[in-house]
Structure formats: C-alpha cells, structure tokens
C-alpha cells in the first residue's frame, strides 16, 4: 500500500540501462519490460499550460494518461476521436484533473512516438519488493525520456529514500522542473505570450524598443498556424495583442525612431491588425453566446438564434479571408521584411530620444502617463461625458503596456503591487467599453440587414434592439463604478509607489 502521493519524475531513457541489475545498497534493481510498445501523443495547450504546472498528459490509442498521480498515471478512456477542448471530454478522472486548463484553449499534439512500460522493483535478498517505480519510456524521432512514478511501500522508507537518491544520480528531475516536450524534441521552444525584455544599465531606448518589437513579431508569428487551423480563438487574440503592443511601442516611445519611419511603421501594423478586427469581434460574440441569451427573455431568443447563425456564417467567411491572407506570399514577404528590418536595424534610424538610457526613459514615460491618467480621472464625476471615460481606458491600457514592457527593470513585488489594482480598474473600464462597442456593432449589424425578408428582419430587429437596450443599461452600471474604481486604484500607497519608482520620490 502506498504512502501519501509522491512526485513524478522525468529521467533520460538510458537511465534504465544504468539501473538494470545494479546493486543499490543491500538491494538489487529488477526490471520488467512490457512486451509491447504503443503509440503516444503528448498533449498540451499552445502555451503549455499543463507543462508549466508540472502536469504531463499523454494520449495512447483511446486512453488518456496523466501524471503526476499517487499510483501510476490517472487514466480515462476517451474514444478514438482527436482530443481538443477539455470541456468536450467525457466526464471522468482526467477531465476533472484537467480543470486547470483555460476553457478557451484547445489541447494540441506536442510530441509523438512510441511508449513502453517498464517496472522497476528494488528487491532484498528474499526477493521481496521494498520500493517500486513505474517507467513510461517515451521514444520520439528526435529524443526520448522516461516518466517515472516512484512508489513508496509501507514499512520500507529506507528503500524509498535509496530509490529517490538513485533516480537523482541518474539525473531525474520532477515534472515541475523538467519538460517532457523539450526532452522529446530538443529544438522545441516553448511559446511565451509575454516575453520578458532583457535590460541592463547600458540599454538605450532605441535598443529596448527594437528588442520589444522583435520579441512580439516572433509572438505574432507563433500564432499564425493556430489561426489558419482554427485551433482555438486564443491564437488570434494573442496575434492581435502582439501587433497592438508593437504599435504601442511605436506610438509611446516617441522620438526613439525617426518620425517619418515611426509613422510609416505604425500605419503598416495598423493595416495588419485591421484585417483581424471583425473576426475577433465575432469570436467574442460566439464565445459569449450564452451570456447574450441570458440577457433576454425567452420570447426574444428566436431572433438571437438567427443573429448568431449569421455571425457564425460571417465568421467562417472572415476566417477564410484571414487564413488566405496569412498564407499569401505578400504577407509572408511583408512580415519577413519587418522581422529582417528589426533584426538588422537597417532603415531604422534612431530619433532624438533613441540614445537615451532605457531605464530612465521608461521611468519618464511611465510617470508622464500616470500623471495624465490622474488628470483625466480627477475631472471625471458621474456627470462627465462618456468620451472622458474612454480616454481614461485608453490611457490606462498604454500605462499597463509600458509597465509590462519595462517590468524587468523594476523591483518585482513593488511592481506587482501597482499592476494588480491597475488590472482591476481596467476590468471595470474594459467592461464599460465592451458594452459600448457592442451596442455600436449591433446597431451597425441592424443597419446592414437590408430590406429583403421582412419577417425575419422584424424578429431580428426586436431581439437585437432589446439587446442594445440591455447592454446600454449594463454600460451605465459599469459607468457608475468608475469613480470608485479609480479611487481604489489610486490609493495613497499607489501614489507614493509611483513617485518612488518613476519620479525619484518627488511629487
């Protein structure tokens, strides 16, 4: 009977040859190899959500296997179909264990090969097993590794300690420290949606801007395949954020590049983004389908059904257009040229601020933006025009991007203490904006209906009209929270921290 749960390890597959028959203290290692090997696929989300939490999920035939687990892997039969979203899995222990996966993210094959099970027993002179480990040896084309689940046996603590020490000598690491995906494919580079900028005391503003843009161009590229394959909607979302961040760098880092070049680049990135806007809106509508249905009484659901059907059709068309664009030679040429330009810094002349020290430049930008936000917020009360609230939202977003770009240059915990309340304020402003944008886009949708099919349009108009009214109400509710939200964000502590970090402690 095993004791409480123990960690799962990853070890080189040749460790088994080292262990075979080896004396370990007064014990001997005995290996029993499974007769067959089976195909396997390691599954994870694009951003390796499972791996980052020390979880390894493997599909073999119609079974899913998951580590870590107290005894062997957790298993669940899921049939022969390809595994995608966790919410589509049949109920069972694996689905429960995968509750950590964000519901918008689909599972993807990350590595493939053949898998063999090997049992290791440490036996004493009586041939009694004193500790056990179950190995799943994964062999892919480019690499191999074994997942090891040691098992302590009651009354034999010493043998277990020896087992763990021996595994350690073989280079075993826990699944939280090691990546199965990287072990099977040494060329694999994990996807990071928010890459950290490497800053040192000598980094110039020009270098910092160029590094950030390079990093986010790479992020954008890593999302193209997932958009084209329509794996999940987060690919497009991340792609857009990457482009938006690049555009923010170009507009926020004033004078880092020559004005003319900055202007042209800004336009270029805006154009790239423009092709994605409608698809993203439709993704959000379709994702939040239930939310919209819940907003209206059942008598108006028929119209919503029609609207969503039209949205789904429009999405298919939009996706086809975007996928064609992303696969076009013209796009390939454009994005390659952009990457080359920022890689080689050719035709990328520094502007008047380019040579400034990045850190002091960042502090100046952040302080300036923060002061601007305070000025706008001070003028806002319950009677102020919505325009001002929109402006506050945009400025908060810019501040957030600036702070995230330069986060590595500032003390981590203090920085976090600023970002957390800022995020909360942005949630409030974001909802206010979403409701507002949706009212406009729904109104535009109504306008586009035309005059044909009068009956259908009447039903649609009733539902969409009602939806606009409800969204308007929601927007008012969010609007009323803004003054309080800002006050919570801009506490005395926040004010002091901003002064300390970005303005040398002065007000």
């Amino acid at each position: 009977m095993s004791l409480t749960s123990v960690p799962t390890y990853l070890v080189r597959s040749d460790a088994l040859d080292t262990l075979s028959g080896k004396p370990i203290g007064k014990l001997r290692a005995r290996l029993t190899r499974g007769e067959n090997d089976f195909p396997f696929t390691v599954l994870d989300t694009h951003d390796e959500h499972l791996r980052r939490r020390g979880i390894c999920l493997v599909q073999s035939g119609s079974d899913l296997l998951l580590w870590p687990a107290a005894h062997g892997p957790i298993t669940q039969n899921v049939g022969k179909d390809a595994v995608g979203f966790v919410t589509d899995l049949p109920d069972g222990p694996i689905r429960q264990a995968l509750g950590v996966v964000p519901e918008l993210r689909s599972l993807l094959p990350m590595a493939q090969g053949r898998m063999q099970q090997v049992l290791l027993a440490l036996v004493d002179t009586e041939e009694k097993t004193r500790a056990r480990a179950e190995f799943h040896v994964l062999t892919a084309q480019e690499g191999s590794a074994a997942i090891v689940q040691p098992q302590a046996l009651r009354g034999y603590d010493g043998a277990y300690t020896q087992l763990i020490a021996t595994l350690g000598e073989c280079g075993a690491k826990t699944l939280t420290e090691a990546s199965v995906i990287a072990a099977l494919n040494p060329d694999h580079r994990p996807y990071v949606a928010k890459p950290d900028l490497e800053l040192d005391a000598k980094t110039t503003a020009y270098d910092a801007a160029t590094e950030i843009i390079k990093a986010y161009l790479a992020v954008a590229r890593r999302n193209e395949a997932g958009i084209i394959a329509d794996t999940d909607i987060e690919f497009l979302h991340d792609y857009r954020i990457a482009l938006r961040k690049i555009r923010s760098v170009l507009s926020l880092f004033k004078g880092v590049y020559k004005d003319k070049q900055t202007l042209a680049l800004k336009q270029q990135f805006s154009d790239l983004m423009a092709l994605t806007g409608r698809l993203r809106d439709l993704d959000v509508y379709l994702q939040d389908r239930q939310f919209f249905f819940d907003l209206l009484p059942e008598s108006l659901h028929a119209g919503l059904d029609q609207m969503f059907q039209m949205f789904a059709e429009e999405r298919t068309a939009q996706l086809a257009t975007l996928a064609a664009h992303l696969q076009s030679p013209a796009y390939e040429a454009e994005i390659t040229a952009l990457i080359n330009r920022f890689d080689t810094c050719r035709k990328l002349r520094p502007g008047p601020e380019g040579e400034r020290n990045a850190q002091t430049y960042a502090a100046k930008l952040i302080w300036k933006r923060y002061r601007k936000i305070c000025r706008i917020a001070e003028a806002i009360d319950d009677q102020t025009e919505d325009e001002m609230v929109h402006e506050l939202r945009i400025q908060c977003k810019k501040l957030r991007y600036l702070m995230e770009f330069f986060a590595p240059a500032f003390p981590k915990t203090t920085f976090k203490s600023l970002l957390k309340p800022l995020k909360k304020l942005q949630d409030n402003l974001g909802l206010f904006n979403d409701y507002s944008v949706q009212q406009d886009s729904l109104a535009a949708f109504l306008d586009s209906l035309g005059t044909k099919d009068h009956d259908r349009n009447m039903q649609l108009a009733q539902s969409v009209g009602a939806l606009i009214a409800v969204l308007h109400q929601r927007q008012r509710e969010e609007r009323l929270k803004v003054v309080d939200s800002f006050a919570i964000f801009n506490s005395t502590e926040t004010q002091q921290t901003f002064r300390d970090l970005f303005h040398g402690g002065k007000s």
Partner: protein, 247 residues
C-alpha cells in the same frame, strides 16, 4: 471495518495457506487489507517474504501506536499490508478494540498515513489461549479449516464446546473442509456426517489437497498470484466470495 480470524485448534490443516490466499483475494477485490501474522509456527510473513521486525518486543507493544504503525510492511500486492509480528500478544484485545474505535490514537495514526483498513485478517496460533479468546470476541467471523478426519472432527467439536462454555455466538464460526482428497472414501463420509451435525456452520466450498498449494512454500507467494488459473486458486476465490456473503 471487518475483523476476520483464521483459526484452528489443530496444526497442519492449511490454516496459513487459507489466511494468505484470503488476504490476497480481499485485496484483489479492492478491500484494503491488513494481514496480522500471530502464529509463531505459521508462516504468513514467510509466504510474503516479509522479514519479521527485530525491533519489536512484546512489552506494551499495542500501547505504542507509533511502533505498531511502523511495524506494518507493504506486501508486493496492492492494497495488502502485513504485520509480521510473529509473537504472542498479551494486549491483543486492546489492539483490536482500538482498531475498531475511530477515535483511538491508533486509528487516527493509520488514517494519517492513508493506511486505514477495510479488513483485518488474523492468522492465529493453534491453541486456545487468552489471545484466542480475545480474538473470538473481537472478530466478526472466524474461519476454521477442518480436514475431514475423525481426529479433526473431535477438535472441531472441542472448539464449539469452548464457544458454548464462554457464551460466544456459534454463528461467528465459518468452517470449511480443507485438504480434502477425493480418493479417500473416509473423507467423503466424514464430511457428510459433519455437515449434518453442524448445520449452517460449514461453507459449501472445500479446498482440495493439491500440489499447487504445497508449492506455495517454494514460490513464497499466494497460489492465487502465481497460478491464478489453477483449481486451487479458483477455489480460494470461491471461498472468499462465499465467506464475504456470509459476513
């Protein structure tokens, strides 16, 4: 939690083989099982290759929760642990009552290491002693292997008499015929007689004398593990099912 004792007041009747295979069958059916080796002449621990702990002495053993839990050893089979004490226990009744009492320190200590058990199986020594008396009153059922010979018949009657004299409920006794040999007509006669005399006390299942069971001493493992398809293994499986139905 159930406490089942394997007992015979006569040696060499296949008691330990029964305890070992019953324990294996219980664990295989998902019951977390602790097999206590109480018979100094028995060999439950030997069959599971577990070395008796040298550190244990009889004195106040069962008052010492930590030492007790530390003495338990995992077998090579999932869900089956062994207490390889291999000695006589004066305070055994204290131990059993603590195993039952969910508030006792012993029970809590076991729970803390996820080592609580569904069944405790006792391989008892073959004499009627204070220990046996404790076991008889604490156990939910007492499994008694009986070789169908005249001598065994007499010792079984003695056991029933002991139960009556000590006001112990007879229905706790679950006897079965062990080491039966089809060729011996006397075996058949004795079984028929005893089934009549001790109605309801005998299980239907009987374990035949086979070389598979004898070989357990060489294999040092339950026959149900080494030869699961053998007749012996299958009959032990049936014995387990019938017994669990009665308990």
């Amino acid at each position: 939690m159930k406490i089942i004792a394997c007992y015979s007041n006569k040696g060499g009747v296949g008691k330990t083989a029964t305890a070992v295979n019953l324990a294996y069958a219980l664990a295989a059916k998902g019951q977390r099982t602790l097999l206590c080796d109480l018979d100094p002449q028995g060999a439950s621990s030997f069959y599971f290759r577990v070395k008796p702990s040298k550190k244990l002495t009889e004195t106040k053993f069962f008052e010492d929760v930590e030492r007790f839990t530390k003495a338990i050893r995992a077998s090579d089979y999932d869900g089956l642990d062994i207490l390889p004490a291999n000695m006589t226990f004066r305070d055994f009744d204290v131990f059993l009552s603590r195993m039952r009492n969910s508030r006792s320190r012993l029970k809590k200590a076991l729970k803390a290491v996820k080592g609580d058990y569904d069944v405790i199986l006792l391989d008892c020594p073959p004499n009627i002693s204070t220990l046996s008396e404790n076991v008889f009153s604490a156990a939910d059922g007492i499994v008694v292997p009986v070789i169908p010979t005249t001598l065994s018949q007499r010792t079984y009657v003695q056991l029933e008499q002991f139960f009556q004299a000590n006001k112990l409920p007879l229905k706790k006794l679950h006897a079965f015929f062990s080491m039966t040999q089809g060729v011996k007509s006397l075996h058949g006669q004795t079984m028929e007689e005893m089934r009549k005399q001790h109605k309801k006390r005998f299980l239907k299942t009987q374990i035949a004398f086979t070389s598979d069971i004898e070989r357990m001493g060489v294999q040092r493992a339950p026959v149900m593990a080494t030869a699961p398809r053998s007749q012996a293994a299958q009959t032990y499986g049936t014995l387990h099912d019938e017994l669990m139905e009665r308990l």
